[in-house]
Symmetry: C2
C-alpha cells in the first residue's frame, strides 16, 4: 500500500487552517468539516486527568455522527476547571453556528500552553474567518495550523479501490513530545469518503490506534489531550460497509497504513530526534512481557543516547529487560541492531559485525530487534533517539 | 545524627586500594578485610540477569561469615557465561589465599566493561600487592579504587555510643549511571565494629537498603551487578546485639543515616547531574501508588530537564501521574517545588510564587513534594536532573 506524504481533496470534506491570533504569527486555527453529517470515531488519551476539550469531545462522540472538528494550537485549555469545559463548549458552539448544525455535531481539540484561559474573543472572530476559508484543498493549511513544536507538518494519504470505487483516506497529525503541557500533545485527524457506520468505524480505529499511535513513545509520557478523530462521509457512493466483509478488511489495512505512516512521522520528529527508532521484541512468553520489554527498551535513556551516539550497545538493550524483571536466557537470545546480529548464543558478535552495525546506525531509520527465544509473543514500539536538542527544547523553554 | 563524608579506621578492619593494571593509570583494585571472621550481610541487584560476581557472592553469603570483599573496577565480568563464574571464584580464591581463609569467606565484586574476560594475570600479581597494602587507614584508597564514571569518591561515616561503647559505621559507595554496562554499577561497602549476628545484620541491611539505595534512580535503570555489603567485626567489644533491643534500633538508625547519605551522594553525582532531586509523594491511597508516582515523576525526562532548566513546571510533574494512570483530583492536590507551593486547590500559584520557586531551583538540592490528598501512603525517590552532559557521557562514549 503506497502511502503518500501529501494532502488533497476527499469527497464530502472541506478544511482550512488560518492565523487567528492565538499565536503571534503562525497558523493556529484549523477546521475540518463534513458537508453532511458523517460517521465518526475517536480515541483519546488514557491519562487519568484529561483536558477540557477531551471531556467535551467524548460527550459529543456519543451522538454517533459529526459535522466537523475545530482545533486550535497555542492554548491547550487544560487545568482550567469548570471554566475550561464551558469554554470548550463555546468553541464548539461557535463552529456549529457557522455550519448551522447542533453543538454536539462538533468535536473540539486544543493544544498549547496550559493553565491559561482559551482566548474566546480571538475565536469569536477567528472561527467565522476559518469557516469562510474552508475548501476541498484546505487539508495542507489545516495540517500547518495544528503544529506546535513539530518541525514540519505531517500528512499521509492513500487511495484504494473498494467494490469498483476509488476510496481515499487522508490523515494529518501533530505532536513531538508525548507530553509537553506547554506546547505538545498528539493530535491526528483522518477523513475518508468511504461509507462506514460509526460503530464499525470506532472498532477499526480502536484496533488501528492500538497498533500505531499507542505504540509511539518519544519520552515515555502521554498528554492529557491526545486525540485521534476519524470521519467517513460516504461521498464516494456505494453501500454502507459491513463488519467482517472483504472491503472492511481492506479498508482497515489502508487505515492502518495511513496511521502507521503518521506514527513514523511523529516518532521521527520527536523533540530533538535525529532518527526514527523501531523496537521489535519477539519470542516473549506472553503479550504483557513483550509489551513491557519494547517499552522499557524504547524508553531507556541509555539505549536512546547510544543510538544517538551510533553505538550498537546490546548490553544496554538487554539490561533494560533484566531491570524490567523479565526472565531471559542469554543462550536463547538474539539481538539485531540496524539489521546486524550483535548478540547471539550468549555472546557478543565479533568486531566485524560490530563495525557493520555501527555503519548501519548512520541511517535515519534504525531497527532494534530482540528475539527472546522463549515464546511466541511479539510487540513493537516507535520511538526516537535522545539528543542534546531534546535537553535544549525542554530545559530552556520556560512556561 | 552527624554523618561525615570522610574515611577513617574501624576496629577489626583494614582496607587498601591500588593500581593493579586493569585500567591504564587509576586505582582499580580494592580489598576490604576483617581481621577475624566477621558477621556479614549483603543485598544485590533485582535484575533477572546478574553478573558472575553477584552469583558467586550470593553463594558465599550463605556461609554467614566473611573475611572480606575483593573488588575490581575496569572490567565487570558480566555476560561471560561459565567462564565468568570460574573467573570470579578464582579472584575470590586469590584473595582467600592471602588471608589464609576459605574461598567462601570472600565476597567478590567487579565493575567496568562488559563482555570481556577478567584479566586474571593482572589479578594474580595485583591481589598479593593489594593485600600487602592493607591498613586501618586504607578506606580512602579503597573508595578511590572502586570508582568508574564517578566524579569523586563517596565516603560516609558516623560514630555513636551504644551500651557505653563507641561504635563506628564506615561506608563507601560508587556508581553514577544506574546501568551503564560499560562503566557503572552501584557498589557500596559498609563496615562496623559493633557486634551483630549475621541474621540480624541482614534484616537491618534489607530494611535500610529498601529505604535508601532502592529509592535511588539516576536514569530509571538497574545494573546487573549492584551490590551492597555490610560487615560487622564486633571488635568494639561488648555483647552481641539482639533484635528488638534499643541498641539495635539505634544502630539501625545510624546505618540508615550512613546509607542515606551515600544515596544522596550517588544521586547528586549521577551522570551529568548538576542537582540532587528528592521527590516526595504523600497522600496516596496505597503504598504501590505512592511508589509508582515517585518513580514516574523522578524518572520523567521532562521533569528532569525542567529542573535542569530552572522551571518549576507543575504541569509536567502532575501529568506524569495521570500518565501512570493514578487517579488524582486537582482540587485536593498540592505541589511544592523547592519548598514553594506552585499548585494548590486546582490552580496554579501566582507569578510571585512562581518567581520564588524559580529562585529556589538555583539550589543544588531540590525537593519536589506532591500531596495527592487522597490517603495516607507516602514514598520518596532520590534522583538528579537531566543535562547535556548526560547525553555527552552516554552518546559519545563507545564501547
Amino acid at each position: 500500500m503506497k502511502v503518500r506524504r501529501e494532502t488533497g481533496p476527499v469527497a464530502g470534506f472541506r478544511a482550512a487552517g488560518i492565523h487567528a491570533g492565538i499565536k503571534k504569527t503562525a497558523r493556529d486555527l484549523a477546521f475540518i468539516v463534513a458537508d453532511a453529517p458523517a460517521s465518526v470515531a475517536a480515541v483519546f488519551t488514557r491519562s487519568t486527568i484529561v483536558g477540557a476539550p477531551v471531556e467535551v469531545s467524548r460527550r459529543h462522540l456519543a451522538l454517533g455522527r459529526s459535522r466537523g472538528v475545530i482545533v486550535n494550537s497555542g492554548c491547550s485549555n487544560v487545568a482550567m476547571g469548570e471554566r475550561g469545559i464551558r469554554d470548550a463548549r463555546r468553541m464548539a458552539g461557535l463552529a456549529a453556528r457557522e455550519l448551522g448544525c447542533e453543538l454536539e455535531e462538533i468535536l473540539v481539540c486544543s493544544t498549547g500552553v496550559i493553565g491559561q484561559p482559551l482566548p474566546l474573543d480571538v475565536l469569536r472572530v477567528g472561527i467565522p474567518k476559518v469557516a469562510l476559508a474552508l475548501s476541498p484543498d484546505g487539508f495542507g493549511d489545516a495540517s500547518e495550523a495544528i503544529r506546535t513544536t513539530d518541525t514540519h507538518a505531517k500528512p499521509a494519504r492513500v487511495t484504494l479501490r473498494l467494490d469498483g470505487r476509488e476510496v481515499t483516506i487522508q490523515g494529518i497529525a501533530k505532536g513531538s513530545g508525548m507530553i509537553e503541557p506547554n506546547m505538545a500533545t498528539m493530535l491526528s485527524f483522518i477523513v475518508t469518503d468511504a461509507a462506514i457506520p460509526s460503530k464499525l468505524l470506532q472498532k477499526m480505529l480502536g484496533r488501528v490506534a492500538d497498533a500505531t499511535y499507542n505504540r509511539l513513545s518519544v519520552d515515555g509520557e502521554g498528554s492529557t489531550s491526545d486525540t485521534v478523530v476519524l470521519m467517513a462521509s460516504g461521498a464516494c457512493g456505494g453501500a454502507s460497509m459491513r463488519a467482517g466483509s472483504d472491503s472492511a478488511r481492506r479498508f482497515e489495512a489502508a487505515l492502518h497504513a495511513v496511521c502507521e505512516d503518521l506514527t513514523r512521522q511523529l516518532a521521527r520528529d520527536g523533540e530533538g530526534a535525529t532518527k526514527l527508532v523501531i523496537v521489535d521484541v519477539a519470542g516473549a512468553r506472553n503479550a504483557d512481557e513483550a509489551d513491557r520489554a519494547v517499552r522499557r527498551i524504547g524508553n531507556s535513556m541509555l539505549v536512546k543516547t547510544a543510538i544517538f551516539g551510533g553505538d550498537p550497545n546490546w548490553g544496554r538493550i538487554m539490561q533494560t529487560i533484566g531491570a524490567e524483571r523479565i526472565p531471559w536466557h542469554p543462550e536463547k537470545t538474539r539481538v539485531h541492531v540496524g539489521g546486524v546480529a550483535v548478540f547471539a548464543k550468549g555472546r557478543s558478535a565479533g568486531p566485524a559485525a560490530r563495525a557493520r552495525a555501527e555503519k548501519a546506525l548512520a541511517a535515519e531509520e534504525i531497527r532494534i530487534e530482540v528475539d527472546l527465544g522463549m515464546g511466541r509473543a511479539a510487540a513493537r514500539l516507535y520511538t526516537c533517539d535522545l539528543t542534546y536538542e531534546y535537553i535544549r527544547v525542554n530545559a530552556e523553554y520556560t512556561t
